[in-house]
């Protein structure tokens, strides 16, 4: 049963071949069995089973959606009433939110059953999940490798099938990179499609929720329940709802796939390039046309990102002062000392580092040179995507330069770590949809991801293109050896 897709689980539930409670128990057992992965931070079987019973009652009443009774787990960046919400930080240890994030609420309304909260990099800052206060998450394909970050727990949980689907968030690649490293499907929609209400903010102009699943079809089904306008988020896009599954069966015949030459330059490892080129060849076999395109300033995405994201985060994380909630130092002198010590103790090294970078680039005398300049280059990069989309329908390339690296390999060098997001950051800066789908294995048998990007609001097309590939290949169906039981 755990090998089934979300779509199949929904059908099995509707046909009463399995109950939501049985399914919840099955996954709770798997979570327990694969505890070593450290993917989950909070599991509360009583809460999960109560939701499952509600789902069963709903199915019995006949007002179920295709998602009712299907389990899902949430990245611990989304606040939840029934589970602790920590952002994987000591700062929020044990924090109980009085409200649910809109994404959590919407999936709950669709009838999905929450399995618990998933480990991630602290405040979603990182590319390897080595920045969690609650420990590393292991890559189910190779436990000496990182699962990617920041949504490492989400990626590992889906890869090991201890959850059929997991919410995630992407600021500079935090869905696509771990999806690639963990051999699963991950998609971030257009900025503004998923509500940010209840997402613990990292960099507000970049943060966007998405979903991790085994397949594109599953992601499309969940998007139907998860996305949509939210008046509580001023940056939420007010557009009519749509059916994200509508283009799944569209053929790619005649589809123009743009291949940016900058994504195949120096630094791309041959194993990754080989798998990606083979995936592109599959599209050609299906009738798509490859078009050479250029995103000349894509590489500047990293410096732009490391100005804008820290600037926004330094301000977003100012609310954690030990006054109203969160960590308060045990020993301090005066008020200022209390705040300084609480923040020094409550935040790990990466948030501290980014807060300092952000405070510097916004400070008096540096604002124009760093922040304004970064915002201008951000526009140059976004405009280059628009140029590119005049020549092609979809952009494809690698997600990362290499397969998953080992624990500790980059942890000591922030700059090396930051460079892992070279191919994902440009799309985040533009705010366009992007996804990663499994396309083979590289060095040490670690998974390789194919990145697909579309223009704004073309998620349905993007999902269709991914689905067509997954109809012809089975990479997304493969399970890590350890996950088969």
């Amino acid at each position: 049963m755990f090998e089934k897709s979300v779509a199949d689980l929904g059908r099995a539930l509707a046909a009463k071949q399995v109950s939501a409670v049985e399914l919840a128990k099955l996954y709770l057992e798997r979570i327990e069995r694969h505890k070593q992965l450290n993917a989950f931070l909070d599991v509360r079987p009583d809460v999960t089973l109560a939701q499952a019973r509600d789902a069963d009652a709903r199915i019995a009443r006949g007002d179920a959606t295709p998602l009712t009774g299907v389990p899902v787990a949430h990245k611990d960046i989304f606040v939840t009433r029934d589970f602790a919400s920590t952002a994987s930080s000591r700062m929020l240890k044990g924090y109980m939110s009085p409200f649910d994030a809109t994404v959590v609420e919407k999936l709950g309304l669709a009838g999905m059953v929450t399995l618990g909260k998933l480990n991630c990099d602290e405040f979603a800052m990182g590319s390897s999940n080595e920045n969690s206060y609650y420990g590393n998450v292991l890559n189910p394909w190779d436990k000496t490798a990182v699962p990617g970050g920041s949504s490492g727990g989400s990626a590992a949980a889906v890869a090991a099938r201890i959850a059929p689907a997991a919410t995630a968030t992407d600021t500079g690649g935090s869905i696509r990179e771990p999806a690639a490293f963990s051999g699963i499907t991950g998609i971030k929609p257009t900025y503004g499609r998923a509500s940010r209400w209840g997402m613990i903010a990292f960099a507000s102009s970049l943060d966007q929720a998405g979903i991790m699943t085994a397949s594109a079809e599953d992601a499309a089904l969940i998007f139907n329940g998860m996305l949509g306008f939210d008046p509580k988020d001023s940056t939420s896009v007010d557009r009519a709802g749509e059916d994200y599954t509508r283009s799944l069966n569209h053929s790619v015949k005649g589809l123009r796939i743009g291949v940016p030459k900058e994504f195949f330059g120096e630094g791309l490892q041959p194993d990754v390039e080989k798998a990606v080129r083979e995936a592109l060849a599959e599209y050609v076999r299906q009738g798509a046309v490859l078009v050479d395109i250029s995103l000349p300033n894509a590489a500047l995405g990293i410096p732009v990102y490391y100005v804008i994201a820290p600037a926004e985060c330094s301000s977003n994380l100012s609310r954690f002062d030990g006054v109203r909630y969160g960590h308060r130092a045990a020993h301090y002198g005066d008020l200022d000392d209390m705040i300084k010590k609480s923040r020094a103790e409550g935040f790990g090294p990466e948030p501290r580092r980014r807060i300092l970078i952000g405070a510097y680039v916004l400070s008096h005398g540096y604002y124009d040179a760093y922040y304004i300049q970064a915002q201008k280059v951000r526009r140059i990069i976004a405009d280059e995507f628009q140029q590119a989309f005049r020549q092609c329908d979809i952009i494809a390339g690698p997600v990362t330069t290499s397969v998953a690296f080992g624990f500790g390999e980059k942890a000591a060098d922030p700059v090396a770590m930051y460079l892992s997001d070279l191919y994902t950051i440009p799309g985040s800066l533009a705010g366009i949809p992007g996804m990663s789908i499994p396309c083979g294995f590289g060095a040490k048998n670690r998974p390789v991801g194919l990145q697909l990007m579309s223009n704004y609001f073309e998620e349905a097309k993007l999902l269709g293109v991914a689905h067509q590939y997954q109809q012809a290949t089975d990479w997304h169906m493969r399970l890590p050896p350890g996950a088969k039981s």
Binding site: T235, V237, Y325, L356, Y370, A382
Partner: protein, 95 residues
């Protein structure tokens, strides 16, 4: 333009994060590495380009002026490190 340890101390104070001498030096090295990366931006000609604050354009949506939210104080204050009589408690505020 590399940062100095006094820059690090100044921004740590601005950001209200306590930092020791040893941490200052270590952080200085890391920040200078990152700023070397960031400095690439200085050579880009951005004349005439509008800064991009949001991925999508458009204006602010407005909410009708109705007091519809009736906060539940207990729920909102349940995570408070220290509270009394419905107030959050902090070390004495001096004005």
């Amino acid at each position: 333009m590399p940062l100095t340890s006094s820059d690090v101390k100044r921004i740590a104070h601005l950001a209200r994060i306590e930092i020791t001498e040893a941490e200052t030096e270590h952080t200085l090295g890391q920040l200078n590495g990152i700023f070397k990366l960031i400095e690439q931006l200085q050579s880009v000609d951005t004349t005439g380009i509008e800064p991009m604050s949001h991925p999508l354009g458009g204006g602010q949506r407005l909410r009708e002026d109705v007091a519809i939210d009736h906060p539940d104080r207990d729920a909102i204050m349940k995570n408070a490190p220290a509270s009394q009589d419905g107030l959050f408690l902090v070390p004495r505020v001096i004005e």
